[in-house]
Point group: C2
Chain length 157, copies 2
């Protein structure tokens, strides 16, 4: 059982950082295509992908953005966070087996609305920046802990 | 078999529009959580969600952004598009059963780099704006058609 902690607005000092990591699998590609409807063959068809500038299948850019969402919702600030906005710049392709790490850094606070801006960078296993951007969130109202929900079993193929 | 058409840079006149629609299912929520690692209980645990401002489970904001990715990759400009950036403002919650429509509108072109900017709006079945933003893409080099890949069978539960 994984425990997720919420960090409230008052504890989110500027410069605070957190990370979240995940490795891209074949299953991730297929499930992202299924849930989003994005069946672009560059993500799914190796023969097609050979004819692209990338020469092999790559992740959906928005899959890497999903990891940013996961980092915000499960680590910093954690459950109760309301996602208001995100800017994304896709810098490098992400290949099967790449181990990505999202790095979050609190960059600004707006006391009136309790909004927090967070720099969001995603690096691969070679420390190369693959996605850069920033998020705007409303932080959780109070600190707390919640058990991460169990997901139903998912079978592919 | 679904055919996906690529629209090259020269045919992307300013003001051209396209749409892409998808309805949020329980399976979509679970698969997005699985592929991204975003197990925020507001998306997965109805009891937890009752205690939030939304009173019920909502979609991951980045799931709706995935629909924008699908619209760009499969409709306008279609396969061969390289996704460079995306700005997102999450305006309203998306609930189970909501039927979303992504509306794309070509808003700018940069001849030197062949980059195209596209306004990206996502509406629900009541024509309420749920996500607003804009995308920057490199358009496909030439027109063409490709068969949408078949996805492997996915079973949940």
């Amino acid at each position: 059982m994984k425990i997720l902690k919420s960090i409230p607005y008052d504890e989110l000092e500027i410069g605070r950082t957190a990370t979240f990591s995940k490795t891209l699998t074949e299953e991730d590609l297929v499930l992202f295509a299924r849930t989003s409807g994005d069946v672009n063959p560059v993500h799914l068809d190796e023969e097609f992908a050979k004819g692209t500038p990338f020469k092999t299948r790559i992740a959906h850019g928005m899959w890497s953005a999903g990891l940013i969402s996961a980092a915000l919702a499960t680590v910093l600030p954690g459950p109760g966070t309301i996602y208001l906005g995100q800017n994304l710049s896709f810098r490098r392709p992400v290949l099967l087996g790449d181990a990505l790490t999202v790095k979050l850094t609190v960059s600004g606070k707006q006391d009136e609305k309790k909004w927090v801006t967070i720099d969001t960078e995603v690096f691969n296993q070679d420390d190369k920046l693959v996605v850069k951007g920033d998020a705007t969130v409303m932080a959780p109202a109070k600190s707390g802990e919640v058990t991460a929900p169990d997901l139903p079993k998912v079978t592919v193929g």
